[in-house]
């Protein structure tokens, strides 16, 4: 019994004295090669390993095609703008949209119209503003929301994606010799006959404060337009 205990204790002492070297793992061949290449004692280690076959194949460059993003819409519109007190007149403009997500889009528009005459001007034959000042130009920066996305069907075989959207934003109107801060809001309908073409119907109100007709008041200028845009 005592002998067995002694052997056991001695074996522990032997393990302890050898330290961690018992658990030391031999370096892997490649690690060994790395270690050897660092030492100056093995100058041959820098030489390339002997190869059986020298590949004569030219490495080909693989070009992965990129995905074409198509989120930008650019186009023009035409319609009727009812300038408060100055009658309804044709309006034309350009629009640039960026589709931020499936739901939201940002829009910048620039439009021009020429105001008619107020009833006072028609009756009295006195012009309130000059012809040059009748030029009505505006720009809007807006955020739109695709409220009702859907599909439009024409016949049995043609389906086109569409969306009814709400839009609102700010901008400026240059009219009657003054520039005014403008708030716009409205709604529109967009239908896409192809993936790159969209047709629009829009109704928008451009609201600004002006004193062109005597007293300062909010002027509502309703606009109804049709337009076409191309996706890029």
């Amino acid at each position: 019994m005592e002998i067995r205990l002694c052997i056991l204790l001695l074996s522990f002492v032997a393990l302890g004295s050898s330290g961690c070297s018992v658990f030391h793992r031999h370096p892997k061949p490649d690690q060994g090669a790395e270690a050897d290449s660092n030492s100056e004692s093995m100058p041959d280690a820098d030489a390339p390993p002997p190869s059986v076959i020298e590949p004569q194949v030219e490495r080909r460059t693989v070009k992965v095609p990129t995905i074409h993003p198509s989120n930008v819409e650019l186009g023009a519109y035409y319609g009727e703008l009812s300038i408060q007190d100055f009658g309804a007149q044709p309006v034309a403009g350009v629009r640039l949209d960026y589709h931020i997500s499936e739901d939201f889009f940002a829009e910048a528009t620039y439009g021009r119209a020429k105001a008619g005459f107020t009833s006072f001007e028609t009756l009295s034959n006195i012009q309130l503003i000059s012809d040059a000042e009748r030029r009505f130009t505006y720009y809007n920066l807006s955020l739109g929301y695709n409220l009702l996305p859907g599909e439009v069907f024409i016949g049995r075989n043609l389906a086109m994606t569409s969306a009814f959207y709400m839009i609102g934003g700010i901008g400026a109107v240059k009219f009657a010799g003054d520039q005014n801060f403008t708030v716009n809001f409205g709604a529109g309908f967009r239908v896409l006959p192809t993936d790159w073409l969209a047709l629009h119907i829009d109704v928008q109100d451009l609201v600004f404060r002006s004193d062109v007709t005597g007293t300062e008041e909010l002027k509502n200028n309703l606009q109804a337009t049709i337009g076409a845009t191309v996706f890029f």
Binding site: R60, P65, H68, S70, S101, F104, A108, A172, F181, D195
Partner: protein
């Protein structure tokens, strides 16, 4: 000569199947599926949706989250920049539009920023201000530093310079239009809304270098929406 003469990126379905919708939206019905192992071409991207064409010639729209489960021809997973919080923290471009005030005048402003790092951005902004006494324009170029871009509510500081054009209203006698150089310093916050959209508000103090005896200090605040891509 490149090895791949393909016009479109080719991907392989690694999940049980890939759903193809009839339009680029969550509500459009699923009309087709692509089975596991089958290849398809990615024709284009519109917001979160990708128009794809299978080898059988079937076309449809796949959602970006589903496309993230597919693989490239060499078997590596397909990855794409998503419009999410990670994208909010790290992106290349951002744009936005604001309303606000500049020295008491109503301000309309738009900006474009390029990220040099996640924290540091170069910004260009163009603004129009419309006041009771004068109208005008501002063009500013500067840097902005976002302290914690990964925070939903992340503050930033701005520093830059620009150009101010002031046109007094014609009702004022003897008023001349003026072009002045400006320098500005500002603070602001960004708040992530969702997808690629965030809110941004900013305060700026402009030092306007006039040709009069003293410079003018004009304050600007603006608030609006912005998006990254």
């Amino acid at each position: 000569m490149p090895a791949s003469a393909r016009d479109y990126l080719q991907l392989f379905v690694a999940q049980p199947y890939l759903e193809l919708h009839t339009g680029p939206g969550r509500g459009y019905p699923v009309a087709q599926v692509v089975a596991r192992g089958e290849a398809f071409d990615v024709l284009m991207r519109r917001t979160e949706w990708f128009k794809v064409r299978t080898e059988r010639g079937v076309e449809g729209w796949a959602y970006e989250g589903d496309l993230m489960l597919t693989t490239l021809a060499d078997g590596t997973p397909f990855t794409i920049n998503l419009g999410d919080r990670a994208g909010f923290a790290s992106h290349r471009w951002e744009s936005g539009a604001f309303g606000g005030a500049y020295a008491g005048a109503t301000l309309i402003s738009a900006y474009q920023a390029l990220s040099l790092t996640d924290n540091l951005k170069v910004e260009v902004s163009a603004s129009q201000f419309l006041g009771n006494l004068s109208n005008g324009y501002l063009i500013d170029v500067g840097f902005s530093h976002v302290f914690m871009p990964e925070w939903r509510f992340s503050p930033f500081v701005t520093l830059g310079g620009g150009y101010e054009h002031v046109e007094p209203k014609p009702t004022l006698a003897q008023a001349l239009s003026a072009n002045n150089q400006t320098a500005y310093v500002g603070v602001g916050v960004r708040y992530y809304l969702g997808r690629r959209l965030f809110l941004r508000g900013e305060l700026r103090g402009h030092e306007v270098f006039t040709n009069q005896n003293s410079n003018e200090v004009k304050n600007e605040w603006k608030f609006g929406f912005a998006f990254f891509y």
